[in-house]
């Protein structure tokens, strides 16, 4: 950071060497723009709201910097697919460390689990690996392009080769040969490559009459041979003119030499397990390989010293073939001539000069030497990653992955980096003061989880990564869950399900409260009550009960009561927390018994109705404003013809309530129920009559 930014008020000091880029924005509004508001939209888009006078427009701007190699939808597929392997590895890690009672699961066989994880993730990044250049029947096709490989998969495989796969450690050089064969086409974007030259040559193949007279033919043969693409070399050699039937007789010797070289190439000893469909003879044990290697080299030397070369009168064939022999003999100069950039040269060294696995340090030195021999102005991101790996600098590798391939790769590749090395494990898992007390591993997981959280389709998998973060994970998870919309039932239920999985009961109860209030405010009273009940929020239920009674009081005619039935059913049994809404239950019972009374003249039914009425009037949860309407509704009961239905004490209770009401009238905020003006007096009269009769009866 330059010193002049110290004391600067900017939160993030701008230290760019280049001036900021300016992009025009097409919004179609007439200037001047009076207000501009900027907020985050979905994913990494910015939402700009522009106001110009009375007109306004909202524009979403997608920020660049996304990997154009892999479209968004494909990225999501990778994200979905990597959840299960990641979760499995984490659970293995924690069960292992519980077993060993150490925080680090480092054990000799741990890498096997990581390798399985690596293979599963690797398979997500592209279909089954096709042979680099499948030879198909068409003789003109020498290098066929299979499924387009991605740099991401190439990077993943490179990390796997170096950090995880202990089994193939013995033939590491050969694995690198295969790696380059699979991904050589990627490097074509930044500089000239053998693969690129081959593809170009193939396009012109149909126009070439005499192939062996074209200098590019021999150049490409030596190039392809230098990086070990034996199949291509042999196939190209067989395109040589001397194989043609009409020429065979007078070019017999020449053809013999071509075929001899082709046979030698196809017999090249390789220190690797058997591979189907590839040329070369494979040896698994080192002594066997050395024996075969020595024999093969002596055969080449013998052919090189052969007298037949002098008799071969085709100069181009002679020189081209002898150059191929030089490459096989490991002539440094020929190798350097044949290859285009340092990785190709590096691979050719492994093939023809030092075919054995060596220490990573000497591999690094060799790489340095190759880079010196093949300096480049532009370097591909994969070659930067490779140098980082060879330098044995875990932090550089991580930084490179993060910068060039994004948070997905870092969050998942970290598992590979720590697979075989306790040192890396400690380095990446130790808590760091400069990171706010979290480890590098946690930092990268959090970053990745934030990316997942920002998209409506991936936020549900973010919890898997957040819960694997010891320090900050749970806090961010709670944030994430709170942030989801409570508006749509399915999102809400998916959210609550995540709370259930991680036993975050307090969060789910808060989310349900939010949902309850949301529904209530939008007039879905039933849904609101349901969610508040689920959240066991008695105080909120009490509050909405008061509002609910307002509408009950206004519209409680017998016809509209049908609407309330469902709501009362929802409130369920009395053991459930219903707050003040409990009243509705009793009210419904009372209404029902009153209906029975009005339809018949049974005194039993009337007595039942009176019982409900007294229960309601005694219950403290019955709101005061219902007292008068309740009594007015019960006038028929109070004026019962056959006998007084209320006892003296019951009548007194009701009279007391009337008295309380008259006192309440004096208080502010009292609302008069909408009843006929003579309602109060008729109730008083009925109660008085009933009291008189009851006294007489008792």
């Amino acid at each position: 950071m330059p010193s002049d930014t110290v004391g600067n008020v900017a939160l993030v000091p701008f230290t760019g060497d280049s001036p900021p880029a300016v992009y025009p924005l097409h919004h179609g509004l007439a200037p001047p723009i009076s207000r501009l508001s900027i907020s985050w939209a979905r994913g990494s888009s910015l939402r700009l709201s522009l106001f110009a006078g009375a007109a306004a427009k909202v524009v979403e701007v997608k920020l660049a910097g996304e990997d154009s190699e892999i479209p968004d939808a494909h990225w999501r597929r990778i994200a979905y697919g990597s959840v299960a392997p990641f979760a499995l590895l984490q659970s293995r890690r924690s069960s292992l460390s519980a077993l060993l009672k150490t925080p680090s699961p480092y054990r000799s066989d741990w890498w096997e689990h990581v390798l399985q994880y690596s293979k599963e993730i690797g398979s997500l990044l592209g279909g089954p690996k096709l042979p680099a250049s499948p030879i198909i029947e068409d003789p003109n096709v020498i290098a066929k392009r299979g499924e387009e490989p991605t740099s991401l998969k190439a990077a993943w495989e490179l990390i796997e080769i170096f950090y995880v796969d202990k089994q193939s450690q013995a033939w590491l050089p050969e694995r690198l040969v295969d790696w380059l064969a699979d991904y050589a086409s990627l490097f074509t974007s930044t500089h000239e490559t053998i693969h690129g030259k081959l593809v170009d040559f193939q396009k012109e193949l149909v126009n070439i009459q005499v192939i062996e007279e074209d200098p590019r033919y021999w150049d490409l043969l030596s190039s392809a041979l230098s990086v070990g693409w034996l199949d291509i070399v042999v196939k190209m050699l067989r395109l040589h003119g001397s194989y043609q039937l009409d020429q065979l007789s007078n070019r017999e010797l020449e053809n013999g030499l071509v075929e001899a070289v082709a046979v030698l190439i196809s017999k090249m000893p390789r220190m690797r397990p058997e591979s189907v469909g590839k040329l070369g003879e494979c040896y698994k044990s080192k002594p066997d390989f050395i024996k075969a290697w020595e024999k093969w080299r002596s055969q080449i030397t013998k052919l090189d010293c052969s007298r037949f070369w002098i008799q071969c009168d085709n100069q181009q064939t002679r020189e081209g073939l002898r150059n191929l022999l030089q490459i096989m003999l490991g002539n440094t100069e020929s190798l350097c001539m044949a290859t285009c950039y340092w990785i190709e040269l590096y691979i050719s060294h492994f093939l023809y000069i030092r075919p054995f696995t060596m220490g990573i340090e000497s591999m690094y030195n060799l790489a340095q030497k190759c880079i010196q021999l093949k300096p480049r102005s532009s370097t591909h991101r994969l070659s930067v990653l490779m140098i980082g790996i060879l330098e044995e600098n875990t932090e550089v590798v991580l930084a490179e992955c993060s910068r060039e391939f994004g948070p997905w790769l870092v969050a998942h590749a970290i598992e590979l980096l720590t697979a075989g090395s306790e040192q890396a494990e400690i380095l990446l898992h130790e808590e760091r003061y400069n990171l706010g007390g979290i480890s590098i591993v946690e930092l990268h997981r959090l970053v990745y989880a934030q990316i997942l959280s920002s998209h409506a389709l991936t936020w549900q998998i973010a919890p898997i990564y957040l819960t694997s973060c010891m320090k900050q994970g749970m806090g961010l998870l709670e944030n994430l869950l709170y942030r989801q919309s409570a508006q749509h039932n399915d999102v809400l239920l998916k959210n609550i399900e995540i709370c259930r999985l991680y036993e975050l009961d307090h969060i789910s109860s808060n989310i349900m409260k939010i949902a309850g209030v949301h529904h209530w405010k939008h007039g879905h009273k039933g849904a609101g009550v349901f969610w508040l009940q689920q959240a066991q929020d008695a105080s909120c239920l009490d509050k909405i009960a008061q509002q609910l009674f307002d509408s009950v009081g206004k519209s409680i005619s017998d016809e509209s009561f049908k609407q309330w039935e469902g709501m009362i059913e929802l409130l369920g049994s009395e053991s459930k927390p219903a707050g003040g809404l409990e009243f509705l239950h009793k009210y419904r019972d009372f209404k029902k018994s009153l209906q029975k009374v009005s339809s018949g003249k049974s005194t039993d039914a009337a007595r039942q109705a009176v019982g409900s009425l007294i229960l309601l009037m005694k219950n403290p949860s019955t709101p005061q404003r219902f007292w008068l309407p309740l009594l007015y509704d019960s006038l028929k009961l109070l004026n019962w013809q056959d006998c007084p239905l209320l006892s003296v004490s019951e009548t007194n209770l009701l009279l007391n309530k009337l008295h309380e009401l008259s006192l309440a009238k004096l208080r502010p905020h009292h609302t008069e129920p909408s009843l006929p003006p003579d309602a109060l007096s008729s109730i008083r009269l009925a109660l008085a009559t009933n009291l008189g009769q009851a006294i007489l009866d008792e």
């Binding site: 979905r42 968004d72 039932n489 259930r500 609407q563 309330w564 039935e565 469902g566 929802l570 053991s575």
Partner: protein
């Protein structure tokens, strides 16, 4: 336990699959599926008919109709021998798509605009067999009937609870009757001839300690119109027999702890359908076997008194499924992770 004799094919869609159904067709050779898709990146929704090819096994887009907003409920049927698809959207509109009976291409569309039926977006529809009438219910508590003519629609409101009760599922039982489901595991039985409210309500005596839930899906078997099968929260699947009013027959989930019922899932059961594949020779007192899909990624078959059978256990939610009427061994389901899967049971 997973059935070993099930072939599973997954087809990534690169878009969210809101709903998936088989398209009932007369032809035995051509098979089609209806997908309601939503692209979060471009905010575009569509209903697409995909053709299922056998050799090689693939699901190819066939015809498409772009929807004004996300599809909340999808139901195919047939009308005058032609396939008919009804879809309700999250903006509250209702669309009827008529398709060609021979090649399943979409021919025409009639719709009711947003606001006509429901004041609130979320709604659920069911189309009568033969497609004459459609019932639409919503969280706003409105129950609507939409009659389909050749080119016009007429609709009437059967009931409005004014938001006091919300409905989240609906299913025809007969040309006159249908069942709805909602919050608190509530079920209602309706009869067109008796307007003014449900003719019967179900609110079972659930275990009081248990939290309640929402009914997400209902099915009624044509041979047993008195039994209503419902699936919802907490892995709950239960049957409500109109003849045994207040006691639910619990087949899975909530309340199962104290009965001998095994739960196939503990999370939301998004959809439930009678399994047409299993020819059960059980007596009429037992509930017919049914298939469910759930938030925890289970697609399975449950049968009263039997151990549940898992057909599919996915790492992500299975949001909807449909059993092919003509080939009941084939099931199509939509996965949370932007894909559909087709299962073929042997």
């Amino acid at each position: 336990m997973a059935a070993a004799t099930t072939a599973i094919q997954r087809f990534p869609q690169h878009r969210y699959v809101d709903a998936v159904r088989w398209l009932p067709l007369q032809s035995a050779f051509d098979r089609f599926a209806v997908l309601a898709l939503f692209d979060f990146d471009s905010d575009a929704s569509s209903i697409e008919i995909h053709a299922l090819n056998q050799n090689p096994f693939s699901l190819e887009p066939h015809s498409s109709w772009s929807s004004p907003s996300r599809v909340s409920s999808l139901k195919p049927s047939h009308f005058l021998q032609k396939p008919l698809i009804v879809a309700s959207t999250s903006s509250g509109s209702l669309h009827f798509l008529f398709s060609d009976s021979s090649d399943a291409s979409l021919l025409s569309e009639v719709s009711l605009p947003e606001g006509a039926l429901h004041s609130l977006p979320a709604s659920c529809v069911d189309l009568m067999d033969g497609g004459v009438e459609c019932v639409s219910v919503g969280e706003d508590g409105k129950v609507n009937l939409v009659g389909i003519g050749d080119s016009n629609l007429n609709y009437r409101r059967l009931f409005d609870s004014a938001g006091l009760v919300s409905y989240t599922a609906v299913r025809w039982a007969s040309p006159m009757e249908f069942a709805t489901g909602g919050f608190g595991f509530g079920l209602q039985w309706w009869d067109q001839r008796k307007p003014g409210g449900p003719v019967s309500q179900f609110k079972g005596n659930w275990d009081k300690k248990l939290t309640s839930g929402i009914v997400h899906s209902i099915d009624i078997h044509p041979s047993r119109k008195h039994t209503c099968l419902a699936g919802g929260s907490l892995g709950t699947v239960f049957a409500w027999d109109l003849r045994w009013q207040q006691q639910p027959i619990i087949l899975s989930g909530a309340g199962a702890a104290n009965t001998a019922v095994q739960s196939i899932s503990e999370s939301e059961v998004w959809e439930v359908q009678y399994d047409r594949c299993i020819k059960s020779n059980t007596s009429s007192t037992r509930i017919l076997p049914s298939m469910i899909c759930s938030e925890d990624g289970i697609l399975g078959v449950i049968e009263q008194g039997e151990e549940p059978i898992e057909l599919l256990a996915e790492p992500c939610a299975i949001n909807s499924f449909d059993i092919d009427r003509h080939n009941p061994s084939d099931v199509i389901c939509s996965l949370e992770w932007e894909a559909v899967a087709i299962l073929t049971r042997q």
